[in-house]
């Protein structure tokens, strides 16, 4: 949109407001990073339990994203394509985790996945596996709080795929599974990957639900809290900076992977771009 004289004032004001928000996000992080010394960072990186906690966070968040994709993508497709009775209730259910305090999530999960829980108790008796105090519990807690991101973003991705493309694909002799994997999934790819990236990010930052369900083994946020309680600001902020750097690098890497798929010829196609046909030429 061309910015003419009359709207210049408005845009200036909006830039000012937006700039304040960006500064508000960046300032604490930069200040914290700036107040570290190399020696302190080195000492924290050298601690085996710090490295283990960061690795565990990454592994659990990765597992969570995979699970959210496996369970959330089918639901997202149903919500994008079908009208059914009770659909609005299902939609509300998907968003419920966003509205619950994370400590409450942890406590609620204990009722199901805890020692005497519906699932936790049965699984423990049958296999000996525990959800409390294990990486299993961490994944369960992460999945609960991050699943809405996977479902909602994948749904937007599916909705951007013109249903006529699926119909034409069927008439060309390919069954529903083939159409889903060869047409729908690739075209909704960007939406799905965005959802999984957000799921990963949300999972790796989760603290409240994790600490209730599985204080041990410690994820990075729990370990940072632990350092803060035991040794104060210095060590905890140093680990925080290390952890932030790792997650930000991964986050930026994912985002550029999702956006940056290029094609060799012609007008390029990027995954997940709304395929409203006819605006191509």
């Amino acid at each position: 949109m061309a910015v003419n004289r009359a709207s210049r004032g408005m845009f200036l004001l909006f830039w000012l407001a937006g700039g304040l928000l960006i500064a508000f996000i960046l300032l604490p992080l930069l200040q914290m990073a700036a107040s570290q010394t190399p020696a302190r960072l080195g000492r924290v990186i050298a601690m085996p339990d710090v490295r283990a906690a960061i690795l565990l966070s990454l592994e659990a968040a990765f597992m969570t994203a995979a699970l959210a994709g496996l369970l959330g993508v089918p639901l997202a497709y149903l919500l994008a394509r079908l009208e059914f009775p009770g659909k609005s209730v299902v939609e509300a259910m998907v968003d419920v985790p966003l509205a619950i305090p994370h400590t409450v999530v942890g406590i609620a999960l204990l009722f199901v996945f805890g020692r005497n829980g519906l699932i936790g108790g049965v699984v423990n008796r049958l296999t000996g596996f525990r959800f409390w105090g294990t990486a299993g519990g961490i994944v369960v807690a992460m999945l609960f709080v991050s699943a809405p991101y996977a479902v909602n973003a994948a749904r937007v991705g599916f909705e951007s795929v013109n249903v006529r493309l699926e119909k034409v694909a069927r008439t060309l002799g390919v069954g529903p599974w083939g159409v889903f994997t060869q047409v729908t999934l690739p075209l909704a790819g960007r939406g799905i990957m965005t959802g999984l990236t957000l799921t990963f990010a949300r999972s790796i930052s989760e603290f409240g639900a994790v600490i209730v369900l599985s204080y041990f083994p410690m994820t990075a946020p729990v370990k940072i809290y632990d350092l803060f309680i035991q040794f104060g600001l210095n060590d905890s902020s140093a680990m925080a900076v290390v952890f932030l750097t790792v997650t930000l690098v991964l986050f930026i890497l994912f985002r550029s992977l999702v956006r940056g798929r290029r094609r060799p010829h012609g007008r390029r196609w990027s995954p997940g771009r709304p395929t409203s046909l006819g605006h191509g030429q």
Binding site: L165, V168, A169, R170, T171, V174, Q182, L277, G278, Q281
Partner: protein, 349 residues
């Protein structure tokens, strides 16, 4: 020989749309057009033939084999949508390969048949409307279809492109010789493309026939108005029966050809059959001639539509040249004429 497609007494209700007791057959090699306003249920009918909706009653048969319950992938029907629905994440070659189970030989032959060999590595977004149309047809062809279905493929194009693509499509359909069902709301498309056509309204086929039957002898007022009969008037048979009849339009009588079976009739006159002159048309076979006043003039593409008041309303098309020579304008006094055979009578009750 079995019809390529036979739809028999099919009914279906689907949300706001319903199909009611629809029957028609398409012969091998024939282009059958379904013409109707939006909301008539044309697309639902097409998607039902393609296998996306199962009829509540009735049967669909293709070349003697009933396919009513077959899924779309088992019907061998090439569906061509508005804007062609090319897969944007595949090249032209990829689109065609998708349809022939990755058999490169068939893909190459489909591409070359449509003159697309040079475009095989292009992405759909970089193609012109005509190229997209050919890719869509090539893709359907690669699947070796027994029938083509077209769902208003030209409706999103601008007027110029539409004319070009329509003519190209007619050439393609003649060249391929495959039967096709073509859905449109555009009477020109129907006239240009159809071997036979059906007019659809509110989920029913209201008239089926050749283009000239439907356009010149519409069976009811809806069809008449939809296929471009501008003058539809209520009349009463004043004299004559079986052959030459006189129809009273109130103040005036006109000559027409009819069976006189019903005293009350609808008089249909196509605007292209009305002659406009400055004086009486002497020594001609034009038996209906009336002094008339021009009430309005509007440009309609290359023609001018002249609304006339002859004591009854009448619409005429004149060419640009006639329009200039006759110096027509609102209020001009002229003579309007039309042959008795240009009057189509629809019996009422």
């Amino acid at each position: 020989m079995n019809p390529a497609l036979e739809v028999q007494t099919v009914s279906l209700s689907l949300g706001a749309f319903s199909l009611c007791d629809i029957s028609f057959a398409v012969s091998p090699g024939e282009v059958f057009v379904i013409l109707g306003p939006s909301g008539a249920g044309k697309s639902v009918l097409l998607e039902m033939i393609a296998g996306f909706h199962r009829p509540e009653s009735g049967t669909i048969t293709m070349a003697g084999r009933e396919v009513t319950t077959f899924p779309p992938e088992a019907r061998g029907i090439g569906l061509i949508f508005q804007d062609y629905a090319l897969f944007p994440h595949m090249t032209v070659r990829g689109n065609v390969l998708f349809a022939c189970r990755r058999d490169p030989g068939r893909a190459v032959s489909a591409l070359s048949r449509l003159g697309l060999a040079d475009l095989a590595d292009r992405w759909p977004a970089s193609l012109s409307g005509g190229e997209k149309q050919r890719v869509a047809v090539a893709r359907a062809l690669a699947m070796d279809p027994r029938l083509f279905l077209f769902d208003e493929p030209l409706s999103a194009q601008d007027a110029r492109t539409r004319d070009l693509l329509r003519d190209e499509l007619r050439g393609l359909l003649r060249q391929l010789g495959l039967p096709a069902v073509y859905v449109t709301h555009d009477q020109t498309e129907a006239l240009v493309l159809a071997d036979r056509l059906a007019v659809m309204n509110a989920g029913r086929l209201v008239q089926t026939g050749t283009p000239s039957e439907v356009f010149n002898a519409p069976s009811n007022e809806f069809v008449a108005r939809f296929v471009g009969v501008e003058t539809v008037l209520e009349g009463r048979i004043a004299a004559g029966s079986d052959g030459d009849v006189r129809v009273s339009l109130g103040t005036h009588d006109i000559h027409a050809v009819g069976d006189g079976a019903s005293p009350r009739v609808l008089v249909c006159i196509r605007p292209e059959n009305v002659v406009v002159a400055r004086g009486m048309l002497a020594d001609s076979s034009v038996r209906n001639q009336f002094p008339a006043r021009v009430t309005s003039v509007s440009a309609q593409g290359p023609l001018f539509k002249i609304a006339l008041d002859c004591g009854f309303p009448l619409a005429a098309y004149v060419t640009r040249q006639s329009f200039l020579e006759l110096k027509l304008e609102q209020g001009s006094h002229v003579v309007a004429g039309f042959k008795a055979t240009a009057v189509h009578l629809i019996n009422r009750e």
